[in-house]
């Protein structure tokens, strides 16, 4: 046991003397949190909507007034009047406008005769976010135009009330669990995997293999020190990220304690994975290449940035075996919903089983000789 702790001591002493390693493994997840959080978390505004009114009568004016209200209030739209539909189409294709609201010449006649009056929204569907936002906004103002002036005091039709259980969660908070997991992963790969292989390539491991240290002590030492470093990274991002993202009660002691348990389990699961992948590797280029691939394969299918319900089948299979998935789910439950361990039982179990299987296999593969 004392030799295990000696290896841990050696690794942590080196870690303390590597400020760049510490900074880089924390800066990237924080940057990603801030940039993605604000890039994707905002509401789309000032979309340029061309209005081609070929009718000019009262019902058409009502549509245009409603669009003007949206432009003045929510500022989702900036309206641009066009007399020539052909020019509007040209500008749509050139990107000068994002959509065209066309009110046909027979709109008012059909409205008054209640004969399927239609307006058209032509969108540039190469940008699905913009076209979806335009569709939703124009659909809402068209629905508003259908609302009768006088309404019954007691509504005769079914109405949906949406009730939000938790306070509003901005996208940056939604991203935070993934950022914490990413910081743990980065420390595991940089401070664990890459350094491990670089040391092996420099022959540093020979110095340890000629001592009486056992295989189990060496493996335990490397992985324990890697876990400690990763836990520190996760803890720092948990605190700083919670403050940046505006998590309510960011320093709640009970929640932080639960978070630290999951951070520790996640760190050990990821270090076990790293060790299994690197245990027989000798080429220093390989962990760097693998790091980039794993970064994508583990992070995006985990549900960190987008719900898994939207994934194709093959990606859901990856998500099912991806330790990131369970870590992200556990962090979301603890951070965003402030639940206890009862809500993350399966996540904890998966991380434990995954760690055990990966570490057992890695230890069996680890060579005590060159």
């Amino acid at each position: 046991m004392h030799r295990t702790l000696t290896i841990v001591e050696r690794e942590l002493r080196r870690f303390r003397r590597s400020p760049m390693l510490i900074v880089m493994s924390m800066v990237f997840p924080l940057l990603q949190l801030i940039v993605l959080g604000y890039a994707f978390g905002g509401n789309v505004k000032h979309l340029r909507l061309a209005v081609v009114d070929q009718d000019h009568s009262a019902p058409a004016v009502r549509i245009r007034e409603l669009a003007g209200a949206v432009a003045a209030g929510a500022r989702t739209l900036d309206l641009v009047e066009y007399a020539d539909p052909g020019q509007a189409m040209t500008d749509l294709r050139n990107g000068a406008v994002n959509g065209i609201l066309t009110i046909p010449p027979d709109f008012s006649r059909r409205t008054l005769t209640k004969n399927q009056p239609r307006v058209a929204l032509i969108v540039d569907n190469t940008d699905t976010f913009v076209s979806a936002t335009l569709g939703a906004t124009v659909n809402a103002l068209v629905s508003a135009s259908n609302t009768p002036v006088h309404v019954d005091r007691i509504a005769p039709t079914t109405v949906l009330d949406v009730v939000e259980v938790y306070p509003y969660v901005p996208y940056i908070q939604y991203l935070l669990p993934g950022s914490i997991t990413m910081s743990i992963f980065m420390m595991v790969m940089i401070g664990g995997g890459i350094i491990f292989i670089d040391d092996k390539a420099r022959g540093l491991h020979e110095g340890y293999l000629v001592t009486p240290i056992t295989k189990l002590e060496l493996v335990a030492g490397f992985n324990l020190s890697g876990t400690i470093k990763a836990v520190m990274a996760g803890a720092v991002i948990m605190v700083i990220g919670s403050l940046i993202a505006g998590v309510p009660n960011p320093l709640d002691p009970l929640r932080m304690l639960r978070m630290m348990v999951v951070i520790t389990l996640t760190a050990f699961a990821l270090i076990s994975l790293m060790f299994l992948l690197m245990v027989r590797v000798t080429d220093p280029l390989l962990p760097r290449a693998v790091f980039g691939v794993l970064n994508t394969v583990l992070y995006f299918p985990s549900g960190a940035v987008y719900p898994q319900a939207g994934f194709p089948g093959w990606m859901q299979v990856i998500a099912a075996v991806d330790p990131f998935t369970y870590a992200v789910h556990a962090f979301k439950s603890l951070l965003l919903k402030n639940t206890g361990f009862e809500a993350i039982g399966w996540d904890v179990l998966f991380l434990l089983v995954f760690s055990t299987v990966a570490m057992t296999a890695a230890t069996a593969l680890f060579k005590r000789t060159l």
Partner: protein, 277 residues
């Protein structure tokens, strides 16, 4: 001391190698080599890169398992009693294996702990060693601030932190400038005399082998070509007086080729992943 531990096998030699072989796939790096190293001597394995010297020494220090044959180090079998071998020897590998970010003292402290040196003895031992290798004033500097020769002295001190009686050095002065090489030789001779060490070193430098070694084994293409004292080797060249012969000429005589040419041949027997700094 060899043969003094109950679990050791009776032998008067520090090292006994019998018919040892090491193959890597189809390639035979060490081919049926046998020799012994006496207690208290400095024994040299001399040969070019790829001769099999490093492979030989790695088998004796338990870094590589032999394909066949036996080796006893301090009376312990390198395969079946590997832990006992490791506890009883000090090793300086070919690559610089000190932690550059740690200080000189920290490097020694870590290895003292790995070898189980009692806590109450550590400080005193480390101080004495740093004094012996003339690095006391650099004790708290990070190793990365030291020159190559100084780093090698750190490793010598590190290899002696647990007070072994048998010391292995794999190419101890490769990559060092001439002044540093001479300093390391002087240090090795002094430490060896002060501590009663047995030393086995590998080298491809003739002058190093000539200056340091009591006996030299010339190794080439995995074979032990000849083994004797430097004087006897030089005297064995027919038609020449021993004083006029160099070990380069001895090498040519026994292998049929010049060492300088042999040094340029690529080596498949070197460590597959050691990057030389």
């Amino acid at each position: 001391m060899p043969g003094t531990n109950d679990r050791s096998l009776a032998t008067d030699n520090a090292i006994d190698v019998r018919d040892i072989v090491k193959t890597f796939g189809e390639f035979t790096a060490v081919d049926h080599v046998s020799f012994s190293v006496k207690v208290g001597e400095i024994f040299g394995l001399l040969g070019p890169n790829g001769a099999g010297k490093s492979t030989l020494i790695r088998m004796m220090v338990t870094l590589l398992p032999p394909s066949s044959g036996t080796a006893l180090v301090n009376g312990f079998d390198v395969v079946t009693q590997a832990d006992e071998v490791r506890r009883s020897i000090g090793v300086i590998p070919q690559a610089m294996t000190s932690d550059l970010e740690l200080s000189v003292r920290e490097n020694l402290l870590i290895f003292a702990k790995l070898y189980g040196v009692p806590r109450e003895k550590r400080s005193h031992l480390i101080h004495d060693l740093l004094e012996a290798v003339e690095l006391l004033q650099w004790a708290d500097k990070p190793v990365k601030q030291l020159s190559g020769g100084m780093r090698r002295r750190v490793e010598i001190a590190r290899g002696l932190v647990h007070q072994p009686r048998l010391f292995f050095l794999d190419e101890p002065t490769t990559g060092l400038d001439p002044v540093s090489r001479t300093a390391v030789w002087t240090m090795l001779q002094r430490i060896k005399a002060e501590r009663g060490l047995t030393v086995l070193l590998t080298t491809h430098y003739m002058d190093e082998a000539d200056k340091l070694c009591d006996r030299i084994a010339i190794v080439d293409h995995g074979h032990l070509v000849v083994l004797d004292t430097p004087e006897a080797l030089k005297a064995s060249i027919p038609g020449r007086s021993a004083e006029s012969v160099t070990l380069d000429e001895v090498f040519v005589h026994y292998t049929g080729r010049d060492l300088r040419d042999a040094l340029h041949e690529p080596s498949a027997a070197d460590s597959p992943f050691v990057l030389r700094r």
